[in-house]
C-alpha cells in the first residue's frame, strides 16, 4: 500500500506540473492603444427614439434573460477606456445584477493576433470590440452572432446610430454589431513650443504649406525637438493626406488599390519629404525607437496628427494636460479630408449565453452608455445628444473640431483581409520612409500587393 500511495502522489504531482503552461507571458512592446478601423463616409447620426425600454421589464421577451448568475467576458484593447467601460458595466448591473461582466484588456499590439487564435480555437470572448479592418473577416467566416432577427422580433430601434456606421457593420442586409463610437483625426500641437518660437498656433485655415513652414521653424536638432512627427501609421497619418491630395487608398467598391495614383503619391510625399527634404521630422528609425506620441508627451515633437480617442490620454498625461491643444487637419491641394471610423461591439457566434450577451450589447448601444463615454471624455460617442457631453468634458482642448470634421469625413478604406493589406503597406512604405527606395517605387509595389489581396477577397467573398 505504501507503494500505491507514493505512486498516486507522484502521479498527481507530475500531472499538475505537466498540465500547467510553461513560460512567462510576454507582454507587448510599447502600448499603441489606438483605435484603428474604418467606417463609411461620416455624417452625423439622425435623431430617434431611445431604447431605454428595451431593458428588463418590457412586455414580450422573445429572448429571455436567465435569472441565474452568468459571467460574460468583454474584451477590448484601450486601457484608457477601461474606467468608462467599468462604469457602463456597473450601470448595467443595476438592471441585471446577475449578469457579471469580466473586462479583459488586451493591448493593441496583440489584440488581433490573440483574437484570431481565440477564434481558431473556438474560444472567442462573449462580447468584444471590432474595427472595420477586421470586421468583414470575422463576419464572413461566421464568427459573429447575426442580430437582424433579434432586432426585428424585439422591434429594437437602430435609428440612433449613424447610418454610415451602421452600414459598415452590415453585410447583405444582416446586422452584426452596434456602433460604439465615432472618431476623426486632428492636428495636435504643443502650445509651449509655439510660444517659445514666437509662432502663431495652427488654425482652421492652415494648409500643407503652413504645416511645413511651421514644422521647419520649430525644429531644433540640438535640443532634440522636431516640428512634426511624420509617422507611418495609416488611420492617423497618411490615409488622411492621400485623400487631402485628391487621391485614394481603395476605390468605392473595393476593387482597386489607389496607392500608385499620382495624387495619392502627393499625399504620401508630404510625409517622406518632411523627413528627408524639410528635415522637420524624426526619422523612421527614431520613431521606431520612441513612439511619436511619447515624443509628443515629452516635448520633443511640436505637432502630430492623432485621433479623437487619444484626447483622454493627453488629458491625463501631466505634461500634455495643460500644454497642448488640437485643431483641424491642414487642408491639402484637394481640400479637407479626415478618416472617419467607429468601432462596434459584437457578440461571438458561439457564445454560451446569447440572450444575456444580447442584453449587454443593447445596453452598450444605449444612450446611457453613450453618455458615459461622452461625459468621461473617453471617446466621441455615436449618439447626437451625447456628442455635446464629450466636447464639453474637457474645455482645455478644442474638441469641437473633431465633431466638425465629420463633415468632410472619408470612410476608413478596408477589405476582408484588411490586416494583411496593411502589413504590406507598413513593410514596403517603411523602406520609403527610411529613404531606401523612392516613394513612387514603394507606392507602385504597395498598390500591386494590395491589389492582389483585393482580387483574392473579391473572388472569395462576392
Amino acid at each position: 500500500m505504501k507503494k500505491l500511495a507514493l505512486f498516486l502522489m507522484i502521479f498527481a504531482l507530475v500531472f499538475v506540473t505537466a498540465c500547467s503552461s510553461g513560460g512567462g507571458t510576454e507582454s507587448g512592446s510599447n502600448s499603441g492603444g489606438g483605435q484603428e478601423s474604418g467606417a463609411n463616409a461620416g455624417g452625423t447620426n439622425t435623431g430617434g427614439t431611445d431604447n431605454s425600454n428595451e431593458a428588463k421589464g418590457a412586455g414580450n421577451q422573445p429572448y429571455p434573460v436567465t435569472d441565474k448568475e452568468v459571467t460574460l467576458s468583454y474584451q477590448f484593447w484601450d486601457v484608457n477606456q477601461q474606467p468608462a467601460m467599468q462604469k457602463i458595466v456597473d450601470e448595467f448591473n443595476k438592471i441585471y445584477p446577475n449578469i457579471k461582466i469580466q473586462l479583459e484588456v488586451i493591448p493593441w499590439d496583440q489584440y488581433w493576433v490573440n483574437l484570431e487564435a481565440a477564434a481558431t480555437g473556438g474560444t472567442l470572448p462573449d462580447i468584444f470590440w471590432i474595427n472595420a479592418t477586421n470586421f468583414r473577416l470575422y463576419a464572413l467566416n461566421n464568427q459573429l452572432l447575426p442580430l437582424k432577427e433579434r432586432i426585428e422580433k424585439e422591434n429594437y430601434s437602430t435609428a440612433n446610430f449613424p447610418e454610415p456606421l451602421l452600414d459598415l457593420y452590415t453585410i447583405d442586409g444582416e446586422q452584426y454589431g452596434f456602433p460604439k463610437d465615432v472618431d476623426t483625426i486632428g492636428l495636435w500641437y504643443n502650445k509651449e513650443l509655439f510660444d517659445q518660437a514666437g509662432l502663431e498656433y495652427p488654425n482652421e485655415n492652415w494648409t500643407w504649406d503652413d504645416l511645413i513652414e511651421n514644422a521647419k521653424a520649430l525644429t531644433n536638432p540640438e535640443k532634440k525637438v522636431w516640428g512634426f512627427a511624420a509617422h507611418i501609421s495609416q488611420q492617423t497619418n497618411w490615409y488622411n493626406t492621400v485623400y487631402q491630395a485628391g487621391g485614394y487608398v481603395l476605390n468605392e467598391d473595393r476593387t482597386k488599390a489607389g496607392h500608385a495614383d499620382p495624387k495619392s503619391i502627393e499625399g504620401l510625399k508630404l510625409f517622406t519629404d518632411m523627413i528627408h527634404v524639410h528635415k522637420a521630422s524624426p526619422t523612421i528609425g527614431q520613431m521606431t525607437d520612441t513612439e511619436p506620441r511619447v515624443m509628443f508627451e515629452s516635448g520633443n515633437v511640436a505637432m502630430i496628427f492623432d485621433g479623437s480617442w487619444n484626447q483622454i490620454r493627453f488629458r491625463d498625461n501631466e505634461y500634455t494636460a495643460d500644454r497642448v491643444d488640437v485643431t483641424y487637419l491642414p487642408q491639402g491641394p484637394a481640400g479637407r479630408a479626415t478618416i472617419v471610423h467607429g468601432l462596434a461591439n459584437v457578440i461571438a457566434k458561439n457564445t454560451k449565453h446569447p440572450n444575456e450577451a444580447w442584453a449587454f450589447l443593447k445596453f452598450l448601444g444605449s444612450e446611457r452608455a453613450a453618455e458615459i463615454q461622452g461625459e468621461t471624455g473617453t471617446v466621441l460617442p455615436s449618439y447626437d445628444s451625447a456628442m455635446e457631453l464629450w466636447v464639453k468634458s474637457n474645455p482645455k482642448f478644442n474638441l469641437q473640431i473633431f465633431v466638425d470634421s465629420l463633415e468632410w469625413g472619408v470612410g476608413y478604406p478596408t477589405t476582408v483581409q484588411g490586416r494583411k493589406a496593411q502589413q504590406i503597406e507598413t513593410d514596403i512604405f517603411t523602406k520609403a520612409w527610411a529613404g531606401e527606395i523612392s516613394i513612387e517605387e514603394a507606392a507602385q509595389q504597395v498598390a500591386e500587393g494590395v491589389q492582389a489581396i483585393l482580387d483574392e477577397d473579391n473572388a472569395k467573398y462576392k
Partner: protein, 314 residues
Amino acid sequence: MGPLFKQQPKVTAPLRSVQRLSTKKKQDYFWAYLFIFPTLLGTVLFNLGPVLYTVYLSFTEWGAFGNSTWGGLVNYKKILNDPVFVSSLKNTLIFTVLSVPLSIALSTVVAQLLNQQIRGVSVYRTLFFLPVVTMPAAIGIVWRWLYNADFGIINYLLNLFHIKPVGWLIDGNIALYSIIVVAIWGAIGYNMVIILAGLQNISPQFYEAASIDGAGMFTKFFQITVPLLTPTLFFVTIISMINALQTFELIFMMIGPDSLVIRDTQTLVFMFYKEAFINNDKGYGSAISLVLFLMILILTIIQFKWQKKWVHYS
C-alpha cells in the same frame, strides 16, 4: 573458441519470458512502469503529440480561421523560394555562431573566478545569475531603454566622451549584434552555475601535483582545468546551441514585427511566430519549425559524434 556455455550468462529477463520471472520480479516491473507512467504520459501527450501534429500541419494549406486542406509539399516549396527564410536563417546562424562560444568562454572565466573562497562570493554568484531569473519582458524593456538612440543611457555616456550616438536597435547593420550582447549577458549566469559544478568536480590533487611541478596559473587553467571540464563544456555547448538556434523572445521584445530592422534581426523562430500567429498560416509556420528541428537534430548529432575528439571522460 572455448566452451562458450560453461558459464551461466547474466540473466536479464526480457518481457517475453515473463512467465519465467519470479512473482517478485513481476511486481517490481509493474511498479517500475507504473511510476514512470505519469511522466511518460505527459511526454507523449504534451511533447511527442504536438510534434507529430506539427509534422502533419506542415503538409496542410491554410485559409481564414484555421480552415485547412491537405497541401502536400507546397509549404516546403515555399520555403525554398522565400528570401525571408534565407535572411532569417542567416541571422539565426550569425546569432548562434557568435553568442554560443562567447557566452561559454565568458561563463568559464567567471565560473573560475567565482570558484574561490573570497568574501561575498555567493553575492557575486547571485548577481551573475539574476538575469536568468528575470522576466524576458523586463529584460526587453530595460535594454530597449538603454539602447534608445536619442534618450538611452548608453548613448548618453558615449556623448560624454564626445562619441556620436549609435542607432543600436534601429541601424540594420548593428541591431543583431546589440541583441547578441543582451543574449550573452543573459546566458552567463546559467552556464556559470553548471560550469561551477563541473569545476568543483575536479580533484584538487591535480592542482597540487601541478604546483609541485612548478605550473603557473594559466598553465593550470589550460592544461588541467579545461581538459577535465570538457564533459561539462560539452553539455553546456549543446544546450546553448539549441537555445541560440531557437531565439525568439529577445527579437520579439526588443525589435518587434513592425520595426524597420526586422529583416536584419529576424530569426527562424520569429519567422515561425509571424507566419503561424500573425498571418495565421499554421501550415507554413509548421513547415518552418520542422526545418529548424531537423537542422538542430543534425547539428546535435554532429556534436555527439565529434565529442570523441575533444571530450575527456575520466
